[in-house]
């Protein structure tokens, strides 16, 4: 496996380069944001003197490239700086929020991925049947509706009318694991509904694509059961595209949850990002964006490695 090791190292290096470019873009975009931090924070007290003093204290009077380099160097030492709004260490702030977001993503993924892949396999097995059409129609409908709308529908039905789940997903470290899962249920369902269609359709298409290949015909002529043909002969060769779309959706579950977190007032990264933008808490916005970018890059790397490992030609060279 030395090739695989080299490839991972290469991709990691490329990922770091990408991350560096992303950090530059984030910084430039934030620079372009309209409005002035000092005026926003100081409000009524923003006299020219106080604004100048404020800027000097935070180093905002320095030219942009100097501020960028200072920011970058600090980050490389693990120091994201302090939040302007709360004066807390950003790394501390991010830590618990990221944990919560990852927890929500994990709950959603634990429901969505097995559900999508099994629905895809079943749809491929019973292709062109009523079941296939129904699954396709339902998942397509759910992906076509905006996620906040799905979220409100779920709140009305499952929380307001039936009272099964809380409509506000307020979690904290003091809760037991299952209590947390229970409180996270509605946002997790929402995310599941939004991302199942994509994964399910890709699984179905990747498997059906292979059904015309000679080794599937061979499996049929060996008198194997249709279920075994799909699971044992088609699925292992369809893994690469399936893995890619699953990981892409995992990335969405982590970085794309902003709206859902806001609707359910869930204390995650998305909520933090939205609050910080509203408060013009620039260091926090930058830090959140950077963490999101790193997540994306890492997950894509994971997808590459996994799809290479699913190819027996690369795993077992001649």
């Amino acid at each position: 496996m030395p090739q695989l090791g080299r490839m991972v190292a290469q991709r990691l290096a490329l990922g770091l380069l990408t991350l560096f470019i992303v950090s530059l873009i984030i910084f430039l975009c934030v620079e372009l944001l309209p409005g002035n931090l000092a005026e926003a924070i100081l409000g009524q007290a923003a006299t020219p003197e106080t604004v100048a003093a404020f800027n000097r204290e935070l180093g905002l009077d320095l030219p942009p490239h100097e501020r960028y380099i200072a920011w970058l160097i600090n980050i490389m030492q693990g120091d994201f700086g302090r939040s302007l709004a709360s004066q807390r260490e950003i790394s501390e702030l991010l830590g618990s929020r990221l944990q919560n977001t990852l927890f929500l993503a994990a709950v959603a993924a634990a429901i969505a991925v097995p559900l999508a892949v099994s629905l895809g396999i079943l749809a491929a097995l019973y292709r062109e049947s009523i079941f296939d059409r129904a699954v396709n129609a339902v998942t397509l409908t759910s992906i076509s509706v905006p996620e906040f709308f799905v979220a409100y529908i779920l709140i009305i039905v499952l929380s307001v009318n039936l009272g099964w789940f809380p409509s506000i997903s307020n979690i904290n470290d003091g809760l037991s694991f299952w209590e947390k899962v229970y409180r996270t249920a509605l946002p997790a369902f929402t995310l599941t509904l939004v991302c199942v269609a994509h994964m399910m359709r890709m699984t179905r298409a990747a498997i059906i694509n292979l059904l015309a290949s000679p080794y599937i015909e061979m499996a049929r002529l060996k008198g194997l059961r249709p279920g075994r043909i799909i699971l044992k002969h088609a699925l292992p060769n369809a893994l690469a595209p399936i893995i890619n779309v699953v990981v892409l959706n995992l990335a969405y579950l982590i970085v794309g949850v902003v709206l859902v977190e806001v609707v359910f007032v869930y204390p995650g990264m998305g909520q933090l990002l939205v609050d910080s933008v509203a408060k013009r808490d620039i260091p926090v916005v930058q830090a959140c964006s950077l963490v999101f970018a790193a997540t994306y890059i890492l997950l894509n790397l994971l997808a590459d490695v996994l799809s290479i490992m699913s190819n027996p030609r690369l795993l077992h060279p001649r």
Partner: protein, 541 residues
């Protein structure tokens, strides 16, 4: 085996009709064929592509490919009518009592599983034997089929095993449940001649050892006459002729069968004049590599005007790589290519239009060598515009001329798309496209390998006529010695990137041969039912 008539009938297909769907319309492709097969008998099905031989072979398993359906007749296998049997009862028969060996073992083995796992699948799933027993049985069969390292080869993945070995492993897999009938669907078509012999003899031995009945499908009459007790000749979904192998070869009744038998009779007239001083193309001491893997070692070839040089070798011998070096697609690590005495830039991007124009190529697969979205007039017209600057009416007139030269009616073919043409017609379009540039040398890379034998022969005759009329030189890359015999003036034999023998055709084809040339020549099947036996006996001594 004349006693076969007295043995009991295993399979009786009566009035078999099969339909295929094209553009939402069902059309009959097999028109009421009767096939009777006795226990332990080997029946050869022979015909060109479109004859329906594979379709009939699969119907013997009660199977029709997607887009096909069995529309009439009965398929009695023992007491079961496979045409009417339920999916579940068919599934129980397939793999256990009727097995299948596909044309390309490399494609028909699942790349994700080890060979022995795929072997054990049928016996275990059909409940015939437990996994451990199936494994030891597999190793026994691998040994009987003369696979190297029978104990270990099963634990490799398909891509780790060579083509000929894979084909034998697939035969072993078909044997796993000791079926009553095996359908062999062109099992050696994709193999080199020397490998073909090993596979043929292995298949024949194992079928005899277990007294298995077989349907052997092929387009090669010489191959089938080694394998079959009885032969059925098919054409356009109809039976042409049926009979005992020896009788059919010695005394065919129908013209079509005679055509198939005499298919390799075309011979070029031996050339006459002495070679001129300067060869049209001189390849001098060429060595080349893909990355760090060397492919060609010190290859030198001369091609003179109006001559055909055939480059023969098996897959991996480097013959197509040599064409890539000559056309400038691959830069050699050593050596030079001279055209008409002048050195040619090794990189095709550095060659000027005229150097490119004088050297054209025709490829093996006409399907992939022409753009399916372009009309014939555009395909042939493009080099006219590019190389000769012809436009509008001049261009169209020249396209029509070229179509006449390749014996296609200009009024009928001018506006056609490739999808509407047969394989032979597509290859003719490729020839016309090469001719449009008015070249002096054409490199023909396996141009007849993908075509039926009768069609291939027509293409060879056309190329010969064009050479006589236009004074073209050809470099003919092929693995098929029959083609070489037909068209070559000179022969270059390649093995593992080296030229092992070269010279005028008469000299290379007359003994004494180089050992490898001898092996190649003796491996070409002949229309003689005893040929394989005699050859194996000779080689054993």
């Amino acid at each position: 085996m004349s006693e076969s008539k007295t043995r009991d009938v295993l399979l009786n297909m009566h009035g078999l009709r099969i339909e295929g769907r094209s553009d939402e319309i069902w059309q009959e492709i097999v028109h009421g064929v009767n096939v009777i097969l006795h226990r332990g008998e080997v029946l050869g099905l022979i015909g060109e592509s479109g004859a329906g031989k594979s379709t009939i072979g699969l119907a013997a398993m009660g199977f029709a490919r997607d887009g096909c359906r069995i529309s009439g007749g009965t398929i009695m296998f023992d007491d079961v009518d496979l045409a009417k049997a339920s999916d579940d009862s068919l599934r129980l028969l397939r793999g256990s009592r009727i097995a299948y060996v596909a044309q390309s073992a490399a494609a028909a083995f699942n790349p994700a599983h080890k060979l022995i796992d795929q072997y054990c699948e049928a016996p275990v799933q059909h409940g015939i034997m437990p996994r451990a027993e199936a494994e030891s049985d597999a190793i026994d069969l691998y040994g009987r089929l003369q696979l190297p390292d029978p104990g270990g080869i099963g634990f490799r993945y398909p891509h780790q095993v060579s083509g000929g070995q894979l084909q034998r492993a697939m035969t072993a897999m078909a044997m796993a449940c000791r079926p009553d009938l095996i359908v062999f669907d062109e099992p050696t078509t994709a193999l080199d001649v020397t490998t073909q012999i090993e596979v043929l003899s292995a298949i024949r031995d194992i079928v005899r050892q277990f007294n298995t009945a077989a349907i052997y499908i092929t387009h090669d009459l010489a191959v089938v006459s080694q394998m079959a007790d009885r032969i059925m000749v098919l054409r356009h979904g109809n039976l042409v002729e049926e009979g005992e192998t020896r009788g059919m070869i010695e005394d065919p009744q129908k013209d079509y069968t005679r055509d198939l038998l005499s298919v390799r009779s075309f011979r070029k007239e031996i050339s006459r004049e002495p070679d001129p001083e300067t060869p049209l193309l001189r390849v001098e001491n060429i060595s080349a590599a893909y990355g760090k893997t060397p492919v060609l070692y010190n290859v030198s070839i001369d091609i003179h005007r109006k001559r055909t040089v055939a480059v023969v070798g098996e897959s991996g011998s480097g013959k197509s790589t040599l064409a890539r070096v000559i056309t400038g697609l691959l830069q050699p690590s050593e050596g030079h290519v001279y055209y008409d005495g002048a050195p040619m830039p090794p990189d095709h991007r550095k060659r000027n239009k005229d150097e490119k124009r004088r050297l054209q190529m025709i490829y093996q697969m006409p399907d992939t060598a022409i753009n399916p979205k372009q009309r014939v007039s555009t395909i042939i017209g493009r080099p006219l515009e590019f190389y000769l600057g012809l436009r509008g009416g001049d261009r169209d007139a020249r396209v029509r001329q070229l179509l006449e030269m390749i014996e296609l009616d200009p009024d009928e073919f001018f506006d056609r798309f490739p999808g509407e043409l047969s394989g032979g017609q597509k290859q003719r379009i490729c020839i016309a496209r090469a001719l449009a540039a008015e070249p002096e040398l054409i490199i023909c890379d396996e141009v007849t390998s993908a075509l039926d034998q009768l069609v291939a022969e027509e293409i060879l005759k056309l190329l010969q006529r064009l050479q006589d009329e236009l004074g073209l030189a050809y470099m003919f890359i092929t693995h098929d010695l029959a083609t070489v015999r037909a068209v070559a003036d000179e022969i270059v034999v390649m093995l593992q990137g080296e030229v092992v023998e070269q010279g005028p055709k008469e000299q290379v084809l007359t003994p004494p041969h180089h050992a490898y040339t001898e092996l190649l020549l003796s491996s070409v099947p002949e229309m003689d039912p005893d040929w394989l036996d005699n050859l194996l006996e000779q080689r054993a001594n």
